[in-house]
Symmetry: C2
């Protein structure tokens, strides 16, 4: 069989493997390869082949006719030196694709099917269109709750799994969608001050104006190596770090890279995504927060209850002690929206300052209280009071400072961005609605989360009286164009409904 010399091509194709073949390569025509075909690349030493989508190249400075180019990720996967001989062949569709066809046909898949699908995905044997077919198949027929369990198990099984060596490792997760909802930065210091183990990895914002990792990053480094995290846990029982480096449920990351641009809303995928990450991260006890409101992800109490049952079903069968709380998602939590503006809110609560936002404090205490009750030594019903004591005594604040020092304090400014603009109430009245989605959109237009100080600060919340012209919120932006975009969006729809006085 003819071989080609392998060559790295310095193109980052993210989670898609791409190979580059010159059009004059003798194999191109004789073997009937075509652009966008999938090929298998073998190093001839018996390692499993790497699968890649083929691009045809007409420029010998990128690859010559005797070479096969591989994009950065693909080259790393193959793991051979540049110049080594490789052979290529047409890639057969992954064997698990028959299960995807069955799912598209409306069938219910079994545990073995999901495992085979996840194995093929993690080994890069699925093209993006095959992943899309799997996701749409799951979204359209829906998934039975057993299938959600099997998918969760398969996603855990095809990645690494952390073991903290203790029987009680707590975590929390909010399904998201509520601006300003930065409770994690309060819950972690409270429950670790009690001595519970809470090694918290969080995500950066993707579609929201701030993720917990973006916000914590205002105060401390969040991109820490596993060894550093283990060391911090030993001394402080917890941390708040970015979870992007560990190989936990890697299939989840791959699915999300396709699911997000498609804006697919699949309940089964969401549950498997959340629970697989938590199980892989070594959590034993998990609190799930489902905010409900007309502009939250879950819009009715009935839908929240259904979702809760699904979480409980999968959690109970995964050796995960799982509690679900359904919370008020009718409006943003706290006043700040954007990394620095939210950090300021969090610090006020931790320092027990008189103008600390009460809704953020109450919600954090509610969640921390439920987590504290995972401790067998805490009586049922005593969690909230214990959390409040830990916060109001200043112990949580001391704990947070220790965690910040351990992660690496950043001497960043806590000033909001330099440009600002107030959005006024149109009439006298009472705030009867705040649109989470519109508030998040305006904050992103203002530059959050990339500009840490950008976002908005809410002066009024649901039920507050306002007079015409009084500020509903203040926009903060670093650049004039950003402020302009945000002002324009707020001018069209402020996100606030002001009703007649009751």
């Amino acid at each position: 069989m003819t071989t080609l010399k392998i060559r790295p091509v310095a193109i980052d194709t993210y989670k898609e493997n791409v190979a580059y073949l010159h059009r004059d390569c003798p194999l191109y025509h004789s073997e009937g390869f075509q652009a966008l075909n999938k090929i298998e690349v073998r190093d001839g030493k018996g390692k499993p082949p790497v699968v890649a989508v083929l691009n045809i190249v007409d420029d010998a400075t990128i690859v010559s006719p005797e070479e096969l180019g591989l994009s950065e990720q693909t080259f790393d996967q193959l793991g051979v030196e540049a110049g080594c001989p490789v052979s290529i062949d047409h890639a057969a569709p992954p064997s698990s694709i028959s299960a995807v066809h069955a799912k598209i046909g409306g069938e219910i898949l079994g545990r073995e099917d999901y495992l085979r699908i996840c194995e093929d995905i993690v080994n890069n044997r699925y093209s993006k269109i095959e992943i899309a077919a799997f996701l749409v198949g799951c979204a359209e027929s829906g998934m039975e709750r057993e299938e959600m369990l099997y998918l969760t198990e398969a996603m855990v099984a095809t990645g690494d799994r952390l073991d903290w060596g203790e029987p009680l490792v707590v975590d929390k997760h909010c399904i998201g969608g509520i601006p300003g909802n930065r409770t994690t930065m309060l819950v972690v210091p409270i429950v670790t001050a009690h001595g519970m183990l809470m090694p918290k990895t969080s995500s950066r914002a993707i579609t929201s104006p701030a993720g917990t990792a973006d916000t914590m990053e205002v105060l401390a480094r969040v991109d820490l190596e596993p060894a550093q995290l283990k060391e911090i846990v030993k001394h402080h029982r917890g941390f708040i770090a970015w979870g992007g480096t560990a190989n936990l449920s890697p299939v989840d990351d791959i699915l999300i890279s396709v699911e997000r641009p498609l804006a697919l809303d699949s309940r089964g995928q969401m549950i498997a995504s959340i629970l697989s990450k938590k199980i892989a991260a070594g959590s034993t006890h998990l609190l799930i927060d489902i905010p409900v409101g007309p502009t939250a992800k879950v819009r009715s109490q009935a839908d929240a209850m259904k979702l809760r049952k699904l979480f409980e079903y999968v959690g109970d069968r995964s050796q995960l002690e799982l509690e679900v709380v359904i919370t008020d998602g009718r409006q943003p939590i706290g006043n700040g929206v954007g990394p620095i503006l939210e950090t300021v809110d969090v610090l006020k609560v931790l320092k027990n300052e008189p103008d600390a936002p009460m809704d953020l404090k109450q919600k954090a205490l509610q969640l921390a209280g439920r987590i504290l009750e995972f401790d067998p030594d805490v009586r049922g019903g005593d969690g909230y009071r214990l959390a409040r004591d830990l916060l109001e005594s200043g112990r949580a604040w001391s704990q947070m400072q220790a965690i910040i020092e351990a992660q690496g304090r950043r001497e960043a400014s806590l000033q909001p961005a330099r440009l600002s603009h107030e959005i006024p109430a149109p009439d006298d009245g009472i705030v009867t609605g705040i649109d989470n989605l519109q508030i998040a959109r305006i904050a992103r237009l203002a530059g959050a989360p990339l500009e840490k100080g950008a976002g908005l600060y809410l002066h009024k919340k649901l039920g507050d009286r306002v007079t015409a012209g009084e500020a509903l919120y203040t926009l903060y932006a670093e650049y004039p164009a950003d402020l302009q975009f945000a002002r324009h969006a707020a001018g069209q729809n402020s996100g606030y409904l002001v009703g007649a006085r009751a």
Copy 2:
């Protein structure tokens, strides 16, 4: 707004638009672009933007930080000179994607929805994963017959449409799956000898051992320009050419490029694909051939009837006079499988040689007769006899020679490939089954259609008596490795069932 200098990157990404941005480009981080994001590229002169998937580059010889690279197709679409300034922005999802979500949710889409989807697809606003979502959505919920009509109309409307300036332009189409079924090369000379207009464009083989274009290419050039085709039609009333160059139903080509690797089997897509191509090609009268058999695409008479009704429904509403014939698809047609071996069969029939395969001749006469009856001057029921007269009188053969000359005769050999091997009957008995799929697979392994002389020649058909060791068929291959692959496959499963003597 910051601009970048446009640069062509000599990479062929086929039907997917790809843009290349250097990792050190100032826009990369500040604007939050990521690999595999979709971006819009604008030339600043008001032309519609080109949408492309972003790859990040770490090699300034491919693109420098001041440049934006575009793959070959993408650069052509933008249509500006290298070095011109362009701006880039995040691409919003195409507006028609909401209709795709509705389809995934099980809704029935309307005429306007399909038109918007096809417009977005033809303008390259859909990524491959969005196309996959649309196809899986259609396959999974199924399409109502109205939807098949709307999709057909939309696919015609978003491409070019030929007009031959005559009221009767005939065509035929077989839904495929039967090896050796090369009736088009007989039907065209027969019906054009009668004076009917039959400008026949055909495809090359994609998954089969030979397409009509591959087979005609043994005798004549098939890659002709539209002007040449018009000229040939003027003198000879028809041709048999490759249809790949015209912009007829371009959405179909894009959908197929995603559908094929997914191996999706969607009835609605198939009907829209076939009919949109024929309507766009200017056909007014169309004969559809649906072979039925246990290893054909359609396995039961009942399924064939359902499919026929769908074709009739869409055809009748598209100003297309459409007839459907359901034919015997229980075994290959003729004896040869592969371009040259099939050409030899066709020539034997045209020249009325005594050893011409009768089944190929009978089927061609049956189809040609039905098409001749589209002529208002041909009495219902007289078509078959007329077709037989045209064939047996030698007029069809003269007509075929004239068409070959007009397209450009190729002085190619009609010898089968140089290596051969006979596959023997395992026992005495009667041939009770021939597997179309396995015969096609073995012929492809032998090298068809890339090697024109490769394939196989059947010595026995259904109902023939065989004695143990007698040849069922002969394999032909150009290269030892191909023969070896084909022999191996035939050794595992010859594709023949030999039963006890009746």
